[in-house]
Amino acid sequence: MRSRQPALLWLPASLGALFFVLPLLGLLLRAPWAEFVGELLSPPVLQALWLSVRCAALATLLTFVFGLPLAVWLATAAGPSRTAVRVLVTLPMVLPPVVGGVALLLAYGRRGLFGQWLDAWFGLVLPFSPVGVVLAATYVAMPFFVLTVEAGLRSFDHRYADAAASLGAGPWRVFTRVTLPMIAPSLGAGLVVAFARALGEFGATITFAGNLAGETRTMPLAVYQALQTDPQGAIVLSVLLVMVAALLLFLLRRHWLRVA
């Protein structure tokens, strides 16, 4: 936008920017930098960080395996069924995560619609387990991936797929050798956003997977717990999470932060 903008906009714009800057400043100024490294390397923090990274990575993998076909279907389907599935997939983005956690319990919990059969047939109980953490993270992260990739697929020029088909490529080859490489930027952005969201997941996790050190206590849960007993420690963990998020956004800058 190179046209002249009304100067009146700049005041609320600066206030809006300040609104985001101040909380960040609060964290950075109050952080006990002297003990920062020591706190970071303490076993409980490393444990929570390692658990978070593993669970977020697995959630991202699940997101890819199931979210990609979903995105493809959404990008090609039409009519009311598509709208319905779209709403369902988008719902976790707008639901309070705690509600998501309750819904997960009712579906995959020990007495849940599906969970009771898992328990009866395989003795598998998902809540209060790391698998539960992965599931909760997948539940909240997958929508971001699906919507990002769906948008990528919609802007994909299908004449390239036509060209590939005319050259003798079957549908699978067209998909893997032409479509996927050509929407790689959307795929990458979707994966990073999903990973970031999975890493930051709190509400659904504490509700569905509980909170046990080494098992299900991820970084956000550790921050919540530390806030009640050791506010300094909570600030250290928060700063760490801010750094990780900033790093992920840096990776995303080409896709989200750069104006075309």
Binding site: L105, L106, G109, R110, R111, V125, P127, F128, I206, T207, A209, G210, N211, L212, A213, T216, R217, Y224, Q225, L227, Q228, T229, P231
Partner: protein, 239 residues
């Protein structure tokens, strides 16, 4: 900002005096609602505003300068921390007590009769986190009984813990006796006197508030025979 205030209901400044702001532990929700109503009736023109949360959360808010007039905690540790941080006016007084109870699914299908049953293999048990008073008491009780329990989770509050027993995700947990009385899907199993840890609820006037006198009057009301009667109605014991 003006719009935001009218939407979320900022206190009208001139029309009424500031209400008495009471920060109370989550487990006190029911009795304090009754106490506030009784107080407002006893003191014409007064208004009480109640905030409930886990005691540690309330303490964090007090530390960050929340303008509370009264702080009612679920344990003495957190109250001592508040005193040490100069957040109180005068000394705290214990106004009520509570017992521990094992919360189980209604009908007690797992036939849990005491703390030692909680160590049973295959039983799904969780406690509140050690920073939560109920979690700390529960661990003390288990230690007294010499029982080692593998807790599946450090639940953030007794209400969260009870909810998961209600949903059937957990077979049992340790909460307050007052938490299990009014909930249909669960039942309470008493903890034997020898291992029980009596939860003691202290109350104090908070320093950051705008209604210090009102706060003191509310504290006095809670400690009065009328206040104790209300607490007793909700299953709380004498201090």
């Amino acid at each position: 900002m003006v719009v935001a205030c009218s939407l979320v209901g900022c206190a009208p400044a001139a029309a009424a005096p500031h209400p008495i702001v009471v920060f109370a532990a989550a487990s006190l929700t029911a009795p304090f609602q009754a106490l506030a109503a009784a107080f407002e009736q006893a003191v014409p023109g007064s208004a009480v505003e109640l905030h409930f949360a886990g005691t540690p959360s309330l303490l964090v808010q007090l530390r960050e300068g929340a303008p509370a007039d009264v702080f009612a905690a679920a344990d003495e540790n957190n109250m001592q921390r508040a005193a040490a941080a100069d957040l109180l006016v005068g000394a705290a007084q214990v106004f009520a007590s509570n017992h521990l109870a094992i919360v189980v699914t209604a009908g007690n299908p797992q036939r849990i009769t005491g703390l030692e049953d909680l160590a049973r293999d295959g039983l799904r048990v969780a406690l509140c986190g050690p920073e939560v008073p109920a979690g700390s008491y529960a661990r003390q009780a288990l230690a007294k009984a010499g029982v080692e329990v593998r807790s599946l989770s450090d639940e953030p509050s007794v209400t969260a813990l009870v909810a998961k027993v209600r949903l059937g995700e957990l077979d049992a947990g340790i909460v307050y006796a007052t938490d299990v009385t009014d909930v249909a899907e669960v039942a309470g199993v008493a903890v034997p006197e020898a291992f029980d840890v009596r939860a003691r609820y202290p109350i104090a006037v908070a320093a950051a508030g705008l209604q210090r006198d009102g706060g003191a009057r509310f504290v006095a009301f809670v400690l009065s025979p009328a206040g104790r009667a209300i607490l007793r109605d909700f299953g709380f014991g004498a201090p």
